[in-house]
């Protein structure tokens, strides 16, 4: 089976709201896929469908070529949900120990604690963890079973910068051991930095699907920022390669598919141009352009 997880033309409505509208998505073995989209794009619904927590109105959700619930009950999937909570009144170590015993080939509690940066908190009660610590415990719960597929819904919400960095290190390590990872995020730089492939969704549909670099290329590869004495946006937009122009006071921001040609034309037309910066477009730019399109 070459496909670990797939959604095929799935649709799901809640009342009159169509949360997922003909979404098709696949995760290959060992792949890290980012599900990227604004709030309300259908990310959480798509993940719930994939895990069998929701049944699609139309289309098919499959894990390892079979019904999602089969894969879940065999312990082949580890997941954390945005609205998933923790059992209260038990210690971190006890909870992980009990969960561990449910899986056929789990990792040790110690390893899960290390991966999720929970060292020293094993004896802490789950209801006395901070927001970031609770989030890390959810990560440990998703990893403890040594699953073949790891599904994470907005995993780094409530994590500080340091926790986020070590979290992504742990996830990359899991992927390099051959596990597949699907995560949703609105931290666009995370999708860019971590994923092999980015699936952008908006309005319950796939808007773009490809490597982060390709996603960026589809909407202009570079951003040129420049300060000009006289801003003439209409003329700037006519420069070679420029796809869009935005202005902030005396400063213009040009998105371009060919920054070299744009710069040559810019300097000959506006010799007094200063403070020129050329940067690769952040995924956020790609994302906003795609969703607006």
């Amino acid at each position: 089976m070459s496909c670990i997880a797939s959604l095929t033309a799935v649709e799901k409505s809640f009342g009159t709201v169509r949360a997922v509208d003909g979404l098709t998505l696949a995760v290959a073995p060992g792949e890290i896929v980012a599900l990227l989209g604004p709030n309300g794009a259908g990310k959480t619904t798509a993940i719930s469908l994939l895990l069998g927590l929701l049944a699609p109105d139309r289309g098919e959700a499959a894990l390892f070529g079979g019904p999602p619930r089969d894969a879940v009950s065999r312990g082949r999937v580890g997941a954390m949900l945005q609205d998933g909570g923790m059992l209260d009144g038990v210690r971190v170590g006890e909870l992980l120990g009990a969960l561990r015993s449910l899986y056929p080939a789990p990792m040790t509690v110690e390893r899960a604690v290390n991966l999720a940066q929970l060292r020293g908190l094993e004896r802490r009660r789950t209801d006395r963890l901070s927001g970031g610590q609770a989030q890390r415990l959810k990560v440990a719960c998703a990893l403890i079973g040594n699953p073949e597929l790891i599904v994470l819904d907005e995993p780094t919400a409530a994590m500080d910068v340091e926790a986020r960095r070590s979290f992504w290190d742990a996830i990359r390590e899991q992927a390099s051991a051959g596990r597949s990872v699907l995560f949703s995020t609105h931290y666009l730089e995370e999708a860019d930095a971590t994923a092999d492939r980015v699936v952008v969704i908006g309005g319950g549909r796939v808007v773009a699907d490809g490597p982060p670099a390709e996603i960026k290329a589809t909407v202009g590869m570079r951003v040129v920022r420049v300060t000009l004495a006289h801003l003439e946006p209409a003329q700037l937009a006519c420069l070679p390669g420029v796809t869009s122009v935005s202005t902030h006071g005396a400063r213009a921001e040009l998105r371009t598919t060919d920054s070299d040609a744009t710069l040559r034309a810019l300097l000959s037309g506006w010799p007094t141009a200063r403070d020129i910066e050329v940067a690769g477009a952040a995924l956020e730019d790609a994302f906003l352009a795609l969703v607006a399109a």
């Binding site: 609205d83 059992l87 009144g89 909870l95």
Partner: protein, 243 residues
């Protein structure tokens, strides 16, 4: 599944408020009622009043332990999102339910046993040795309808209102079921109501054992009927919320 049952048990036994309520109260109520009403000559079931009240309070404690361990806790787990998270583990929904109910029924033991200990130690109650373990078992197994009722409440209510709903159900069933005052002193209409209630029938199981008899089939039938109806209700509600 065993590990998860252990986890649920730990959680219940670490909850001091819960233990104080479900263990402390029946023992205290026993000592109070037994002291105040213990000299009344004519009590229910042809038993010594100290024994009759002991069994009533043990039943009161057992049903409270099970109700409090199922209803509010299930509601909390649903509200916190743990119920959803648990559906992503290999633990099946029926196994999770069994662990929850099993743990709840096990925590009836301290309530029942400590009430018995208080009766023996403070009020000098004596019964044939075989009756004690049989009473413990029938009081444990007989709490099944209360576990099912707790699951109904836990599926209906959110974390805050579940405690209130459970407490109301607990006290109403105890009072109307004749655990606080024996059905015998109640008007005929209320006595008829009491006999339809699982609280009364739960106590009846152990009253009959204390009197040296087998638990009556009618009581078993009423408890089984309540268990069945409430369990179907709980499953129906759980299905509705799962989709």
């Amino acid at each position: 599944m065993t590990a998860y049952l252990t986890l649920e048990l730990r959680r219940a036994l670490r909850d001091r408020r819960y233990l104080a309520l479900v263990v402390g109260w029946p023992v205290a109520a026993y000592l109070l009622f037994s002291t105040v009403f213990g000299s009344a000559a004519d009590r229910a079931e042809g038993l010594d009043p100290h024994v009759e009240i002991m069994v009533a309070m043990a039943a009161f404690g057992a049903m409270g332990a099970v109700l409090m361990a199922t209803g509010p806790r299930l509601a909390t787990d649903r509200q916190s999102g743990w119920a959803r998270q648990l559906r992503l583990t290999p633990l099946t929904a029926p196994a999770a339910l069994l662990a929850r109910v099993g743990a709840a029924m096990v925590v009836t033991l301290p309530a029942v046993c400590l009430t018995f200990v208080a009766a023996v130690a403070v009020k000098g109650v004596t019964l044939p040795a075989w009756e004690w373990p049989v009473m413990v078992v029938v009081l444990l197994v007989g709490t099944a309808p209360f576990a099912a009722l707790g699951l109904v409440i836990g599926n209906l209510a959110d974390g805050d209102s579940a405690m209130g709903m459970t407490t109301i159900a607990y006290f109403a069933l105890a009072a109307l079921g004749g655990l606080w005052m024996p059905p015998k002193v109640l008007p005929a209409g209320m006595r008829a109501v009491a006999h339809t209630l699982p609280s009364n029938r739960l106590a009846e199981l152990a009253w009959r054992v204390a009197a040296g008899h087998a638990p009556p089939l009618a009581a078993v039938g009423v408890l089984a009927a309540w268990s069945g109806v409430l369990a179907l209700g709980a499953v129906g509600l759980a299905r509705r919320f799962a989709s």
